[in-house]
């Protein structure tokens, strides 16, 4: 929020520098995000008096002699402007002067003469007609006759001032005004607050036809309406226009300017309705009907619903409550009678309406954060005071106050000094507590150690001892807090859980295997699901949708991780990395049903990706087998199918009979669809694995038990087989294990294909380790191997090679 330094000084005698004030505001919880010096970049520009002027024949120029006081009584300055005259007071920039647009003045040749300076327009000084009269004319800014020759122009035209952009936290709506900030400044400087003048006089004139009613007190708990008449239309005084313009308002007409001025000064948005335009001279505050429309002051038609609050007359809407007035009741030059409005509208309703209509105004910004009823009253009083003192209109005796009687401001409660200090952990003396609260205009009655506190009406945020503690430490100073290390807290058992530790070591294992951890966003779009060629009826198509995504690209919660990994790989290829290994361990979100009636299941999923010339399926599989081995898990791999994986290079992974994921080679169609250089596509090998890590978590062994060797002899036998190329290794392993109860371990040690074996054949050699409750003899081992060989022949047509 913009606060003008000189304006603040109306209410507090500020005896510190702007920089010191910024520091103190920061300490009190009001961060000044930016301080702008209004006269920034203007140097050596002074009030000059034109002592002589003559036309420079043959040119469009005038030759002026300008008295600039200490900067020279006779400066020769040429100007092209036609509005300069002898005796005129003008802004004169002498040699060495600087102007806001970066111009530096140096002697300059114009036609055959040299000009030693420049006379300035309002625009060149960065000011408008609202700032100083004459600034808007085409030509040189002609200053008032009483301007002091030689005075720094920044002083003359009020640019020697600072504008603070103060950030106000959501709990301090009372500080959304110059007066609100002034209250805080007065408190921390220990100075009295000089309130604005709220006084005014009513005439006896009434307007009995006017009626004011509120149909929706829940959305409008307070509505003040005041009748003013004999309205005169003129420009506001320059001091008011300056303050409005520096805060971003353009001056319009005195009465409208007053409403804006009060918004900035008191923080209370106001509105003026032309009484002539109100049918039945009545105001009714009600919810809009679904489909009802209003044309707002910005000349746009707004379509409304029951959720929008509308200010209406007898037949139509005349204003969008708390946001913007209606075009139909706008103040015009012919307006002679006005109904002034100061109200409190419910903040979330204003917020909703403002958002749904995309209509953000200064009034709405105030209402959204909350106005208090004290401010409503003060705002109206101040507006009427200005109406009267500026001679804008007469204040009639028809005034209205509709309210729900809910004024929540001004809590009262008792609290001990000890209780306040218990929150802070330090001993702030009672005298300081009382002093601080009083400076913030809290009522404090002392009763021994007990304080009876009356909260000011505008401090709706203060309700209990904790709030008081914050007020105290804010003013007393956080530097008084003395750090201590949980002295009174019990010792607790900290650290990570079994599964959290497992997760860390799983990630570290993958790092050791050369996989970099990545982090991708948990949202993507349907396009990612299309990319991996998921069928329309795939369960992964059932994804949670965001109601308000920031972009279509991030509109659903991911149900499968691989698209994210594919994107990471594609990005790295684009960045010129020819090979890499990555993994990510993160959630997928699986709704039980749609539309969502309960939170979706969040499943931790481990996605592994590798690409590059030296990658192959078995390298990825090695990583996964290693992962299983490291964790004492028994993974089983079977031929699998997956929409985005190579039909011949895709395995399902099982653990304890439960499918926990798959791995394989990325389909070429998908590689071809990636936005990478065409030349890189044919050579590209991408391997992906996606494992249900939540399932794996359930399978981790929680305890390790040492199993001593039974000391019985074990015997190993190799068996070489010729079998059909399509016979799977796992099928042979299964037959061996099923056939021989003594086959404790079966491991493939060699495989090859050769023409000698016959068409469509391959050779596999396994080592079988026989072990059991008794010693295994060579005879037993040979017999078992014989049985195994027979079974393999019978079940799989695999022939033993001798």
């Amino acid at each position: 929020m913009k606060i003008l330094f000189s304006w603040l000084k109306d209410y507090v005698d500020i005896d510190c520098s702007p920089a010191e004030l910024v520091d103190k505001l920061f300490g009190a919880g009001f961060e000044v995000e930016e301080t702008i010096y209004l006269g920034q970049d203007i140097e050596k520009v002074v009030v000059g008096e034109v002592t002589s002027i003559e036309k420079y024949e043959g040119t469009h120029l005038y030759i002026c002699h300008v008295d600039c006081g200490e900067l020279g009584n006779d400066n020769l300055i040429l100007t092209g402007a036609d509005n300069v005259f002898k005796g005129a007071k003008v802004p004169a920039a002498v040699v060495g002067a600087k102007l806001p647009n970066g111009i530096e003045i140096s002697p300059r040749k114009m036609a055959d003469m040299v000009s030693y300076g420049m006379l300035c327009s309002g625009e060149e000084l960065g000011v408008s007609e609202d700032w100083i009269k004459g600034a808007g004319v085409h030509g040189i800014l002609i200053l008032p006759d009483n301007a002091k020759v030689g005075e720094d122009i920044k002083t003359t035209i009020a640019l020697d001032d600072y504008l603070f952009d103060v950030s106000i936290t959501a709990n301090r709506p009372d500080c959304q005004s110059v007066l609100g900030i002034a209250r805080e400044v007065a408190a921390f400087l220990g100075k009295p607050l000089k309130e604005p003048d709220y006084s005014f006089t009513r005439t006896d004139v009434t307007k009995p036809e006017i009626s004011v009613a509120v149909d929706a007190l829940d959305l409008c708990p307070r509505y003040l309406g005041d009748y003013i008449y004999d309205v005169k239309h003129f420009e506001s005084p320059i001091w008011m226009k300056r303050r409005l313009s520096v805060c971003g308002f353009s001056a319009i007409d005195a009465i409208v300017d007053v409403t804006n001025y009060v918004l900035l000064e008191i923080g209370q948005p106001m509105h003026a309705y032309d009484l002539d335009t109100l049918d039945g001279k009545s105001i009714l505050v009600r919810r809009a009907n679904d489909g009802e429309t209003i044309v707002t002051l910005d000349e746009k038609e707004r379509k409304l619903t029951r959720d929008n609050l509308l200010i209406c007359d007898k037949v139509k809407g005349v204003g969008l409550a708390g946001i913007m007035g209606g075009l139909n009741s706008e103040i015009e030059l012919k307006t002679s009678e006005i109904l002034l409005e100061a109200a409190k509208f419910r903040r979330d309703n204003v917020r909703k309406t403002s958002r749904s209509l995309g209509l953000h105004t200064d009034a709405a910004a105030r209402f959204e954060k909350g106005v208090d009823e004290y401010g409503v009253e003060r705002g109206m009083a101040r507006a009427l005071n200005l109406v009267e003192t500026l001679g804008i209109a007469k204040i009639g005796n028809s005034c209205f106050d509709v309210n729900a009687g809910e004024d929540k401001g001004g809590a009262k409660f008792d609290v001990t000094v000890e209780k306040i200090n218990s929150v802070l952990g330090i001993d702030v003396p009672k005298a300081d507590i009382v002093r601080i609260l009083s400076s913030l205009q809290f009522g404090v009655e002392e009763n021994g150690d007990m304080l009876s506190i009356s909260v000011p009406r505008w401090r709706t945020d203060v309700e209990n001892y904790q709030d008081i503690a914050e007020e105290i430490i804010r003013e007393y100073g956080y530097e008084h807090v003395t750090p201590r290390f949980l002295d009174s807290a019990k010792v607790t058992n900290g650290g990570k859980s079994f599964l959290q530790n497992k997760e860390t070591s799983a990630k570290e294992y993958l790092c050791l295997m050369g996989y970099y951890e990545v982090r991708t966003l948990a949202m993507y779009s349907e396009r990612e699901l299309d990319m991996i060629m998921l069928p329309a009826d795939a369960p992964e198509r059932t994804a949670v949708k965001l109601l308000n995504p920031i972009t279509d690209n991030l509109s659903i919660m991911r149900t499968v991780m691989s698209p994210c990994m594919i994107n990471v790989i594609a990005d790295n290829i684009k960045n010129g990395h020819t090979s890499a290994r990555f993994f990510e361990l993160a959630n997928v979100y699986l709704p039980k049903s749609l539309p969502l009636t309960e939170p979706p299941i969040e499943r931790k999923t481990l996605c592994i990706g590798a690409y590059g010339a030296d990658e192959d399926f078995f390298k990825l599989k090695e990583t996964i087998e290693g992962f299983a081995l490291e964790n004492g898990l028994d993974f089983r791999f079977e031929r699998g199918e997956c929409s985005y994986l190579h039909p011949g290079i895709c395995a399902d992974v099982f653990c304890n009979g439960q499918k926990i994921g798959q791995l394989g080679k990325l389909r070429y169609e998908i590689i071809n669809s990636l936005e990478i250089a065409e030349g890189k596509k044919s050579e590209l090998n991408v391997f992906l694995a996606e494992l249900d890590y939540s399932a794996i978590e359930g399978l981790y062994k929680r305890e390790i038990k040492f199993a001593p060797d039974n000391g019985k002899a074990k015997v190993k036998r190799d068996i070489s087989l010729i079998c059909d190329k399509k016979t799977l290794c796992v099928e042979i392993e299964d037959v061996i294990k099923k056939t021989s109860a003594l086959a404790a371990n079966v491991r493939l040690i060699d495989s090859f294909e050769s023409e000698k074996l016959g068409l469509g054949k391959k050779s596999l050699t396994f080592t079988i380790t026989y072990a059991g409750a008794e010693d295994i003899s060579d005879i037993i081992a040979d017999k078992e191997t014989e049985t195994v060989a027979n079974a393999l022949k019978e079940k799989l047509g695999a022939i033993r090679r001798v």
């Binding site: 802070l424 709030d467 914050e470 201590r484 900290g494 308000n548 919660m557 290994r581």
Partner: protein
């Protein structure tokens, strides 16, 4: 009496000629083997007069032992020599690179998360994880972020239904913890959070870490004391904290916590924008309304809570200029965090 000096000198001479295992074995056969010269001497025993037999036998045996010793010595020499040759043969260029695939590393956000967890675990904080998809009640209402309060706007929320949402902070972890456990409580809740915001310093998804302590007699001094330890372990032992007023609906008083700039030591530099201080986290004394919402009696217990943006800490510690880098996952970036 024969002194076998001729044999001895023969032995000596031959053994001197022996250079390797083959020569050694020839020598053995010639002199020490069953058919060798020394064994042959024993056959002469029968030609020796009976009274000289013991002396002769002894003398032959002495020659055998002497020759055996010389042989053993030579054998050891040759073995040593052969090992030496093997060592030379096997020598490799140890300066050739060995690593075919370098180990990778965790993402910087994970590294910082782990580091932070380890600091707080040492203080007795239990690490808890909660759902990323929350409801209005846990994410807002019970944290004293009421329906009509503008503080709801402080965090732009991704909504899934009119009740379900992507959690905007890890603070719902406070409610879930206090629903499940009673004081003393000391928990750390790391996790992903989501806000509809995206620019150089904001990402729609980022990592937060919530801390909550609830016990008897906890106050603002504890918050600063505990955070002092935390920042000293994260940023160096000389690091100080500074509290300044702020606002969060679930803490009262609420503070922003700044650390003295670890780059310049507080003198003012580009990192701290000349102020000597860097904002790192927010926190405060747990609002009594939040305790009440979790059926914890604020007359008996009080608490402190804080929330730390992990990306922000990582950006500060590693000097990462842009939030987007964390999610771009470029290999050159990722590989730097060793």
């Amino acid at each position: 009496m024969k002194d076998f000096s001729d044999i001895k000198s023969q032995v000596k001479n031959m053994l001197e000629e022996v250079k390797d295992g083959v020569g050694l074995s020839d020598f053995w056969q010639k002199y020490l083997g069953k058919t060798g010269v020394i064994s042959g001497l024993m056959k002469e025993m029968k030609t020796v007069p009976p009274e000289e037999k013991p002396t002769f036998g002894k003398a032959v045996n002495e020659v055998r032992v002497w020759a055996q010793e010389l042989y053993d010595e030579k054998q050891a020499q040759i073995k040593q020599h052969e090992l030496q040759k093997r060592y030379e043969r096997e020598a490799v260029d140890v300066t050739m690179p060995a690593l075919k695939r370098a180990p990778a590393n965790l993402h910087p956000i994970s590294l910082i998360t782990e580091q932070m967890i380890s600091v707080f675990a040492g203080m007795g904080f239990e690490v808890l994880e909660y759902p990323e998809i929350e409801d209005d009640d846990h994410n807002f209402t019970r944290l004293n972020v009421l329906k009509d309060h503008p503080s709801r706007d402080m965090q732009d929320t991704f909504w899934l239904t009119d009740d379900l949402l992507l959690r905007t902070h890890t603070s719902p972890g406070q409610i879930r913890t206090m629903d499940a456990e009673k004081p003393p409580i000391k928990v750390l809740v790391p996790g992903k959070v989501f806000r509809s915001d995206s620019d150089a310093t904001h990402s729609p998804m980022f990592m937060q870490m919530e801390g909550l302590v609830v016990d008897k007699g906890i106050n603002l001094c504890d918050l600063q004391g505990m955070l002092d330890r935390f920042v000293q372990q994260m940023f160096g032992s000389g690091t100080k904290t500074r509290l300044r007023p702020s606002y969060f609906p679930f803490t009262e008083p609420s503070v922003e916590v700044d650390v003295s700039c670890f780059e310049c030591g507080g003198k003012g530099c580009s990192l701290c924008k000349g102020t000597g201080w860097i904002e790192v986290l927010g926190g405060g004394v747990v609002n009594k309304k939040v305790l009440e919402n979790c059926n914890i009696d604020p007359e008996i217990y009080s608490g402190l809570a804080f929330g730390i943006g992990v990306e922000r800490i990582a950006m500060l510690k590693y000097g990462i200029p842009n939030m987007g880098m964390f999610f771009a996952n470029d290999l050159d970036f990722l590989a730097q965090f060793k």
